[in-house]
Symmetry: C2
Subunit: 327 residues, 2 copies
C-alpha cells in the first residue's frame, strides 16, 4: 500500500520533471511590476537560495502580518468594533436598562458622537459586554454567525471578502517558499481565529492578538473555558514584539504592517541579524478603498512612515502598486 503510493508519487514527479517547463508563472499577479514587487521577490529569493549569503533555513523563515489595514480593510472603523456594536444591539432586548445607560444608549441610538464621548472607558465597556461572559466555543460561534450575515456599509459585501487580494497572494507566495506566516494584530485573538484559516490560510496557532482572560471550569461535567471581562494582553504598538516573543519565541525576518501600531513590530524585526524585510501598506486609494495616513483616527500612519523613509523600508502605494484591491 505504502510503496504503491510512493510509486505514484514518483511517476508524478517524473512527469513534472520532464514536462516542458511552463513559462515561469507570476506568483504575485495582482502586484504591478515596479520596485515594491521587485523588493519582495528579491528578498524571498535571497533568503531561500541555499547558495546565497543571505540564506535562511526554513525554520527561521518567520513572517508576521498585522491584520486591520494590512490584510483586510479597517474603515469606516475596525470591523471588530462593528461586531461589538451589532452584538450590543442583539443583546439589548435582555437589557432594558441600556436604553438610558451610556455607552449602550449611544449604540442603540446610533449616536456616534455620544459614543466618541464615552471615550476609551466606554469602548472597553462595550467590548467586555460583547466579548465576555460566554465560553470560548460559544464566542467562536457568535463571531462565525455574525460574519455570515453582516455586510460592509459601503461595499455591501461580507467583511471576509474585504481582504486584499495582493496580500493573499503574498501570504501564499511566502508559504510556498517555506515561510510560516503569522498574524500579529491589535484585534482580538479569538475574533480572528474562527475565519482566518479559511480566508488567509493561517491556522489558529499562528494567530497572535489581544486577549481577555479565560477561566477553566467544569460545567455539568463538561470542561469549558469561560471568557472573563478582564484584559489579559494588548497586542498593539510596543505590545507586538512582546506578543511575538511570547508566542513565537524567535524573531521574524519579515514584517508587514500599515500603521504606527506596527512600528515596534517592524523595529523588532529589523533589529535582527541577517537579511530582513519590512513593509508598510500605505492607503492611497480613495476610489477603490480609502485614502488616509497621518491624520486618521483609525490606522494612523505617521511616525512609521517617517521611519520607513529613513530606513529604506518598503512602502506599498495601494493605488499604484496593486492592480486589484479585493478578490
Amino acid at each position: 500500500m505504502f510503496s504503491t503510493r510512493l510509486f505514484y508519487a514518483a511517476m508524478l514527479l517524473l512527469w513534472v520533471s520532464y514536462a516542458p517547463q511552463a513559462a515561469i508563472t507570476d506568483p504575485l499577479p495582482s502586484w504591478r511590476a515596479g520596485p515594491v514587487k521587485q523588493d519582495i521577490i528579491e528578498f524571498v529569493t535571497a533568503v531561500t537560495d541555499a547558495e546565497a549569503p543571505d540564506y535562511v533555513p526554513p525554520a527561521g523563515r518567520i513572517a508576521v502580518f498585522d491584520n486591520d489595514g494590512t490584510l483586510w480593510s479597517e474603515r469606516p472603523v475596525y470591523f471588530q468594533l462593528l461586531f461589538a456594536i451589532d452584538r450590543i444591539k442583539a443583546l439589548a432586548p435582555q437589557h432594558p436598562e441600556w436604553k438610558t445607560q451610556q455607552p449602550f444608549k449611544a449604540v442603540l441610538d446610533n449616536d456616534m458622537d455620544a459614543l466618541a464621548d464615552a471615550g476609551e472607558k466606554g469602548l472597553l465597556q462595550l467590548v467586555m459586554t460583547s466579548h465576555a461572559g460566554m465560553t470560548t466555543q460559544e464566542f467562536s460561534r457568535i463571531v462565525t454567525d455574525w460574519l455570515a450575515t453582516a455586510r460592509h456599509s459601503r461595499f455591501k459585501r461580507p467583511y471576509t471578502e474585504l481582504v486584499y487580494q495582493p496580500m493573499l497572494e503574498l501570504l501564499e507566495y511566502l508559504r510556498t517558499n517555506g515561510f510560516k506566516t503569522f498574524i500579529v494584530s491589535g484585534g482580538g485573538i479569538e475574533f480572528m481565529r474562527p475565519w482566518a484559516e479559511s480566508v488567509y490560510g493561517i491556522p489558529p496557532e499562528h494567530i497572535i492578538g489581544s486577549s481577555i482572560r479565560t477561566r477553566f471550569e467544569i460545567r455539568n461535567g463538561v470542561p469549558v473555558l469561560v471568557r472573563l471581562p478582564e484584559v489579559h494582553f494588548i497586542d498593539d504598538k510596543a505590545g507586538k514584539p512582546v506578543g511575538i516573543n511570547e508566542h513565537i519565541g524567535r524573531r521574524p525576518i519579515a514584517a508587514f504592517g500599515n500603521s504606527d501600531g506596527d512600528l515596534q513590530m517592524l523595529q523588532w524585526t529589523a533589529a535582527g541579524e541577517g537579511r530582513r524585510f519590512m513593509l508598510l501598506v500605505h492607503h492611497t486609494d480613495a476610489e477603490r478603498e480609502y485614502a488616509y495616513d497621518r491624520k486618521s483616527h483609525v490606522g494612523k500612519l505617521d511616525q512609521a512612515l517617517e521611519e520607513a523613509k529613513k530606513r529604506g523600508w518598503t512602502v506599498v502605494d495601494m493605488k499604484n502598486d496593486w492592480k486589484v484591491i479585493y478578490p
Copy 2:
C-alpha cells in the same frame, strides 16, 4: 536546475517504492510490547488512516506534552529551581546583603530547610531575582551557559541528557505521522526554548509555559525586550487549558502528563469530539530513575491517577513499560 532536482527525487522515490520492503521497523524501540505501547500505536493508526472512521486531518493532529516528569526528570527538585539557585550563587558577589537576607541566605548556606520555610513568597523572590532584570537574549544565553556546565547530583550528567528516551521516540513517531507536538509546561517558557529544539525537536513556537512580563525598549538605538519581575502567566493546573487555548487556539487530540498539574490539560483534551488519547507517566522505577506519586512534593500524582483509572486513560509504568529511561 529545478527539473533536474525533481528527476533525482523521482528516482529516489522509485527506488524506495520498488526496494524490498524492510521488515516494518519498530517506531518505539524503547517501549516494551504490551497494552501501553499497543494503545499508542492503535491511536496513531486510527487517526491517520484516511479510510478509518476516526481519521483526523493533519491540521488537527495536535499533541501536547508536559515537560517536568513527562519528558525529562524532575527530581530531586525541578531543574529550573536548581538553575535559580545556581544563578543566585553566581550573582551573590554583587549582593553582599544576601549573606544575612532570606531567602538568599538559605540558598548561599545550602540550607534547604530554611529555603522551605521561605515558602511560596520566598521562592517567587528567588525566581524573580534569577529570571528578571536582563533582556530576553541575555536570559537565553544565561540558560544555555548554565546547561553546558551544570550536572545532576545523582546521575552526574547534564540535565538535557536526563530526558526520557521512550518519550523522544514517541515525539518523533507522532511527528512522522503528521502531528504537531507542543510542550505545555508549568516551567518557564523562556527557560525551555533555548534547548528544546535540539533536545526534543520542538521549535520555540511550539513551547507554552509560565512567563513573566517583558517590556519593549530601545536601548542605545537597539530594540530589546526586558524581563520584568512580574508574573504574566502561570501555565499549571487549570492554567494549562488556558495556555493551550491562547497559544494553539484549538483543542489537542492527545495529551501527555505525569502529575496532578496535568489533570485539567488531560480533561480538556478528553472533552473534545472524536477519538482522543490521554496518557500519564507513572514514576515507578526507583532504581533507574525515581519512584513517587501520591505523596510527592514534586510531581504529585494522586487525583489524576484516580481519574485515569476511572476514565480508562493510559498509564505508563516506567519500570515495566520502558526498556531504557535515558538515551
